[in-house]
Amino acid sequence: MIVELLIALSVGAGLFGVGLYGALSQTNLVMIVMGVELILAAALVNLVAFWRYLHPDEPAGQMFVLIVMAVMAVEMAVAFGIAIARFRVRGSVEMEEARELKG
């Protein structure tokens, strides 16, 4: 059973790495959101793996997964809200062109 756990956690690590690369390298807000989604998905995989292989009798583990899913949805909603507002003002959601937000 330990091998399954390691496989699942490694998949989580892989998703985290890919998501981090994406979130940092993309210039478009929507693509960055995609990277963040991947990172959160990595967290999901880990949470489910921990629940399944370490504490299967504890439903709180599953509840955590629900909360992370909610966070994913919220993150997307907020990001797209900002994207629309920004696009309306500026006609662009490219990060390179959002330097004035840098302070």
């Binding site: 309306r88 006609g91 330097r99």
Partner: protein, 655 residues
């Protein structure tokens, strides 16, 4: 028997069964349109075949009546879009070039339709597959690859080479000949496509950096020699790239927005891009960049000159600015500028009058701009130097397949006016009733089209059946159908969702010029019948509805159907007018008749009993100008319903 559009393959075994199935299951695409077929009294949908809305789903192309010249190219594209095996059935169409010869021809009558379909089934069952099936080609289908300079769109060459103005390598671009059937792109496998975004990339190698050393990231026109704040927005100016000084506008390689929907959409993009590239002054550095594709390999700012906006410090040189791309585009109603695509609808679009070409510029699914054009075009009324009265009347009636009786009556009335002849009271009543009968049929036809467009299929089927029953019916026939027609009208008035579908769309103000039911559905309006003593004696009163929207038009048409039933009953006889005997009379005369679509006015000049001059004003001429108003900033479905609510006849529109 062979089928011109057979599919490649030997006719054997299971293919025989498939061919038999195809013969049984005919899916027809009708040119110019089912409405024309119905106006000619042909019941296609009731003939055990399915009338489909796109040539992709059809295996039979049915041509009804003569094919107008303006529709020939579009017909060729439509035929090319049909999957093989495909067949052509013509009903009184005559010459149909550039389409291949008809597989079956029949006269445009109900009996002709029956025998034609029977023949067609035999032909398909026998020859759906053939080992030597040929390709179909027509001039309208040729995709031409032309070469253009990304910087100078006015330079278009047939062969690759360098731009004579700037020396850049010309890039290929596909263009199709005009006259597409409105179903973007035909089906020729073609792998390497010229990408519009490559144009944009190259296009960005446009002018060198900024003028001054510092510029505002928001307002590129603000240029300063010293660091500081932008006078417009107060932002800190950023360092601009060194470069030769020339004022640059906002050029944007618009082509980057490549959905690329069909070659026409490409063309539209090209047009958008064109004004982006419009003017630009001399730029001497261009030669250095000739022929570079993409921007890989450029590792520094020096000598890059690649961005139409002054490169902002810190932005990597290959970066393509989205601000620039979206900058020059017009704003839409919701403030979000989307990629605009120009989508052609028609001339054979199922929800629009046949022969009407509607080009909508779509911003998302909102209509940002529209252009309506009749591809049918009205020819000269008088063919040659002069015509006999009989020929003239026949010609005018044949020119208007959607309202032949009304125009026949109009022509007779105008000639009588010119020759000072009087047909007599009985004839007048008969004529009036004939026009009213056509009004009922026409409005029912409109209801059928509306039902089809809006998915109200019960209405479409019922109105279609009643229209065919009314057409050409005598006074007793009309009386027999009156009950059913009135029931249909009641049903339409009370149908659920009707108000939601049509209410408050396509509203027309009281001052815009309009004709016919469109005019009378906005509270004011005029009716040529109001000045006709014959009709007043029959009890005519002008129908008027308040509202001016598509719903009011629907209801007004229903009112008029009911009223026309009354008028026909009061008239007591129906008589299509005879051509008046004018002998050798000379003179001028004009007549106005309220056709189903509105008032048409004809002025004729007779010399020695021959028609030498004629001038016609039609309601669709007036109403087609309303298309732009009723579609502006509407959702696509609403815009199409709005255009349909005008009940245009492309045959009436001046070419």
């Amino acid at each position: 028997m062979t089928l011109a559009g057979a599919r490649e393959g030997a006719m054997s075994g299971i293919r025989r069964a498939v061919a038999a199935a195809m013969a049984r299951d005919l899916s027809a695409f009708v040119l110019p349109g089912p409405s024309v077929a119905r106006a000619m009294g042909l019941d296609l949908a009731g003939s055990h075949l399915r009338v489909v809305g796109t040539p992709r789903h059809a295996n039979v192309l049915i041509l009804v009546g003569p094919l107008p010249d303006g529709l020939r190219d579009a017909a060729a594209v439509t035929y090319a879009q049909m999957p093989r095996p495909r067949a052509i059935l013509t009903l009184g169409a005559g010459d149909i070039a550039p389409l291949p010869d008809a597989d079956v021809s029949a006269p445009p009558t109900r009996a002709g339709l029956r025998s034609g379909l029977a023949d067609l089934r035999r032909v398909i069952a026998a020859g759906a597959f053939r080992t030597d099936s040929g390709e179909f080609t027509a001039p309208a289908l040729e995709v031409r690859v032309e070469y253009t300079c990304p910087m100078h769109p006015e330079i278009i060459r047939d062969a690759p080479g360098d731009c004579p103005k700037c020396g850049m390598t010309l890039v290929p671009r596909e263009t199709a000949s005009d006259g597409h059937g409105g179903h973007g792109g035909h089906d020729m496998p073609q792998e390497d496509r010229p990408s519009p975004a490559e144009h944009a990339h190259a296009g960005q190698a446009e002018d060198a950096g900024g003028a001054g050393a510092y510029t505002c990231p928001m307002h590129p026109e603000v240029i300063s020699d010293a660091p500081g704040k932008c006078p417009k927005c107060g932002m800190f100016l950023v360092k601009a790239e060194e470069g030769e000084s020339h004022g640059h506008g906002h050029r944007h390689g618009h082509g980057g927005h490549g959905h690329g929907h069909g070659s026409e959409a490409h063309g539209a993009h090209g047009a958008h891009g064109a004004h982006g590239h419009g003017d630009h002054g001399g730029h001497g550095k261009q030669q250095d960049h000739s022929g570079h594709d993409g921007h890989d390999g450029h590792d520094g700012h020096a000598g890059h000159g690649g961005h139409s906006k002054a490169a902002i410090d810190g932005i990597e040189p290959h970066f393509m600015s989205m601000v620039e791309l979206t900058e020059g585009q017009p704003r839409s109603s919701d403030g979000l500028q989307m990629d605009w695509i120009e989508v052609p609808f028609g001339p054979f679009f199922p929800g629009l009058p046949a022969g009407l070409r509607l080009t909508l510029t779509l911003d998302g699914d909102t209509v940002a701009g529209s252009e309506a054009r009749s591809l049918v075009g009205r020819a000269e009324l008088v063919d040659g130097p002069q015509m006999t009265a009989g020929d003239f009347v026949g010609r005018l009636a044949a020119m208007m397949p959607l309202g032949p009786v009304a125009y026949r009556t109009l022509a007779c009335a105008a000639i009588e006016e010119a020759s000072r002849a009087d047909p007599g009271q009985d004839a007048r009543r008969g004529r009036a009733a004939a026009v009213e009968r056509e009004r009922i049929a026409s409005h029912l036809g409109w209801l059928a089209e509306f039902g089809l467009q809006s998915g109200f299929l019960w209405l479409a089927a019922r109105a279609r059946a009643l229209q065919l029953a009314v057409q050409g019916a005598d006074i007793d026939g009309i009386a027999a159908q009156a009950g059913a027609i009135r029931a249909l009208i009641r049903r339409v008035e009370t149908a659920p969702l009707m108000r939601m579908r049509l209410g408050r769309i396509a509203r027309i103000g009281k001052d815009a010029p309009a004709s016919g039911p469109v005019d009378r559905a906005r509270g004011v309006g005029s009716d040529a019948r109001a000045g006709d003593p014959t009709l007043i004696a029959l009890g005519f009163e002008m129908c008027v509805r308040e509202g001016g929207d598509a719903l009011a038009r629907l209801r007004l048409r229903c009112d008029e159907i009911a009223q026309s039933l009354d008028l026909i009953a009061a008239a007591g006889r129906i008589a299509v007018p005879e051509v008046p005997d004018v002998e050798t009379v000379s003179g001028e005369g004009a007549a106005t008749i309220e056709t189903p679509r509105g008032a048409a006015r004809l002025r004729v000049k007779l010399t020695d009993g021959k028609v030498v001059e004629a001038e016609l004003d039609t309601p669709s001429d007036v109403n087609i100008a309303l298309v732009e108003t009723v579609t502006a900033q509407r959702e696509l479905g609403d815009a199409l319903a709005a255009v349909a609510s005008l009940d245009l006849s492309p045959w009436e529109v001046r070419g």
